[in-house]
């Protein structure tokens, strides 16, 4: 193990490490802690210049205000409406593409795979004008559906990369044996491979959920009004209304950040497995 375990070090080093840990964490999360404290601070504190002291009262009212006076509830709903179908769609498509690219040998296999990989890295701006135009022409501009369709297509690139590599690492004898038995290709996919892909599906679900929930660019490009706006775009418009009302901005930010945070803490193992795929070998 590197570095040398602290447990083997001298007593002062051990104590120093245990003291350094929480201190470094507080420094690291200082901006975040500041916002969280501000979100429960009454507005009067800010007016009186009490920015850093103990809040004069514990004010959950800020959160209430955020939900009562703004369309925050709607924004959150929209985010779910965009995120959940995208996760399902992108994973369904990439299970199929990943399986095809991992198990069949054909001439264009590697090139199709690289198409997905390369497409996954292009800057969004090169897609912006045509995708917006296409969405307008389909009559899906300013709708959740328009946003979902694009996200599904784009995320399929990354998901295919992930799924293909995952299936490739499965023992190929399984598929070969089934083929010898004369099982149809579709049934092999459905009954042999798919059940083994559960860990990959779990990891990708959390990752894609977070990516899409946090998307801001496409929300502003493909959506205009409040009725379909996800929370990232919504909070920007609220930020404009709440000039200098930092207690409300803070509460709004905390609300907007919450779902992926909860997802992360519930599914941490899968999240990190997905994110660090390939960080160990190669």
């Amino acid at each position: 193990m590197f570095p040398t375990p602290v447990a083997n070090a001298s007593a002062p080093t051990r104590v120093a490490y245990k003291v350094a840990l929480p201190i470094s964490l507080v420094v690291w999360l200082l901006p975040l802690i500041g916002v969280m404290v501000t979100s429960i601070r009454p507005g009067s504190d800010l007016a009186m210049g009490n920015y850093f002291g103990v809040p004069s009262s514990f004010e959950l009212g800020n959160y209430l205000t955020v939900f009562q006076n703004t369309p925050m509830g709607l924004f959150i709903m929209n985010s779910f409406k965009v995120t959940i179908p995208t996760v399902i769609g992108a994973i369904a498509l990439s299970c199929l593409t990943g399986y095809a690219l991992a198990t069949y040998k054909f001439k264009t296999n590697l090139w199709l795979f690289f198409m997905f990989v390369a497409g996954n890295f292009v800057p969004f701006q090169i897609l912006m004008v045509p995708v917006r135009d296409l969405t307008l022409k389909m009559g899906l501009y300013d709708t959740v559906t328009g946003l979902v369709l694009f996200h599904v297509a784009f995320q399929t690139g990354f998901c295919t990369l992930f799924m293909r590599n995952f299936i490739k690492a499965l023992p190929s004898e399984l598929i070969e044996a089934a083929r010898v038995e004369g099982v149809s290709e579709l049934r092999i996919f459905w009954f042999v491979v798919l059940p083994l892909m559960r860990p990959a599906i779990a990891a990708l679900s959390v990752l894609i959920f977070t990516f899409i929930w946090n998307d801001f660019f496409w929300a502003t490009v493909l959506v205009q009004g409040t009725h379909a706006m996800p929370v990232t775009g919504g909070i920007i418009s609220l930020n404009g209304q709440w000039v200098a009302q930092w207690h409300l901005v803070s509460a709004g930010s905390v609300v907007a950040a919450m779902p992926p945070v909860i997802m992360f803490f519930l599914m941490q193992k899968h999240f990190i497995a997905g994110l660090t795929l390939g960080a160990t070998k190669g």
């Binding site: 590197f2 570095p3 375990p5 447990a7 840990l21 470094s24 964490l25 690291w28 999360l29 200082l30 901006p31 199929l96 095809a100 296999n109 590697l110 690289f114 997905f116 497409g119 996954n120 890295f121 292009v122 090169i126 897609l127 004008v129 045509p130 135009d133 296409l134 694009f150 297509a153 399929t156 990354f158 995952f166 023992p171 044996a177 149809s184 579709l186 049934r187 009954f191 042999v192 059940p195 860990p199 990516f211 946090n214 801001f216 660019f217 990232t232 920007i236 803070s250 930010s253 907007a256 950040a257 945070v261 992360f264 497995a273 994110l275 795929l277 960080a279 160990t280 070998k281 190669g282």
Partner: protein, 325 residues
């Protein structure tokens, strides 16, 4: 939407066949011709939905953008072909150079996330009680939306009362509003971007450190290697896959920077914090007018820069594939 993990190889945890479903029961009623052709047809049927979606929404638009960049177009009316006039205009556009310069700055400074992530990973790679919670909390910034990160840092930098401003006053520097000062604004935004990016690199390195061969470390220890020497000669070479991914996602993250600029400054003051992605958006879609063609030409430049890195990455993947890992 942001940087994404990627790798030429799968992680080691390939599941074992769990004795699941029966694999017998092939349909004997189907014609033999179908069975013979199945293996050839099947991949295309599996691929069709994904490939079609990807072609329509990702690959075709790249070509369309290249094409639109040769036109003058407001997004609604008729397109007028103007050849490379948009690109010629770029050459004399001060704002374009500012954005390009800022992109370079982003790329260079963003790279700090890689060593910083490694340092934190080394710091946290211990087995004391509660360390898992520390790791999770250190990773926290990456999970939050960049929009929220932007708001947090706007608050952090706010003149008069921002925590950072107070810290500056504490060490005797007064009257600096980071986000309103042309000299510091881009650096301020990059620091905000580094925060989640360092967390990302940290998690990659933590996983990498977990898989460093203990035998080699022991052997090196017996040879008297320790500290920096151990890190440099024994550990870092073994962390190469993690480093590779960290570098790739950091480059992509730097070139994709849009959200933070958008929420923290809207490119200001006086356009001094614009990056190419934001400038493109401004030209094509914001109140500055709907210059789709000009916007597309900026996007093409950004795409060309990104293509250099994408190509390098694909070449390396191709090499790994050929070697059959």
């Amino acid at each position: 939407m942001s940087e994404q993990a990627l790798a030429p190889v799968s992680s080691g945890n390939s599941p074992k066949f769990s004795g699941g479903p029966a694999t017998s029961g092939a349909s004997k009623t189907r014609s033999s011709k179908w069975i013979a052709n199945q293996r050839k047809l099947a991949p295309w049927l599996f691929l069709a939905p994904g490939v079609v979606m990807f072609l329509v929404y990702v690959i075709a638009p790249i070509g369309q953008s290249l094409w639109i960049s040769l036109y003058e177009w407001d997004g609604i009316g008729v397109k007028t072909f103007i050849g490379i006039a948009n690109y010629i205009e770029l050459i004399d556009d001060e704002a374009f150079y500012t954005a390009l310069y800022n992109n370079v700055l982003w790329l260079v400074l963003y790279m700090l996330a890689v060593p910083a992530g490694l340092l934190i990973a080394i710091f946290l790679n211990q087995t004391v009680t509660g360390i898992r919670i520390y790791k999770s909390l250190f990773f926290f910034p990456f999970v939050i939306s960049q929009i929220v990160v932007g708001l947090i840092f706007s608050w952090f930098y706010a003149p008069n009362f921002g925590l950072f401003t107070k810290l500056l006053e504490f060490v005797g520097i007064e009257g600096i509003a980071i986000l309103a000062d042309e000299r510091f604004v881009t650096y301020g935004i990059i620091v905000a971007g580094l925060w989640p990016q360092i967390a990302y690199c940290m998690i990659l390195y933590l996983t990498g450190l977990n898989n460093v061969s203990p035998d080699q470390i022991e052997a090196a220890r017996l040879d008297g290697a320790k500290g920096w020497k151990m890190l440099w000669y024994i550990i870092i070479p073994q962390l190469r896959p993690a480093t590779f991914i960290a570098v790739v996602v950091t480059i992509i993250g730097a070139l994709r920077s849009f959200d933070l600029v958008s929420i923290m400054t809207s490119g200001g003051p006086y356009g001094s914090s614009r990056v190419l992605s934001y400038y493109m958006y401004e030209q094509a879609l914001s109140e500055y007018g709907f210059r789709m063609g000009y916007g597309a030409s900026i996007a093409v430049v950004l795409f060309a820069i990104m293509m250099v890195f994408i190509t390098l990455f694909i070449v390396r993947m191709l090499k790994d594939e050929r070697e059959g890992y």
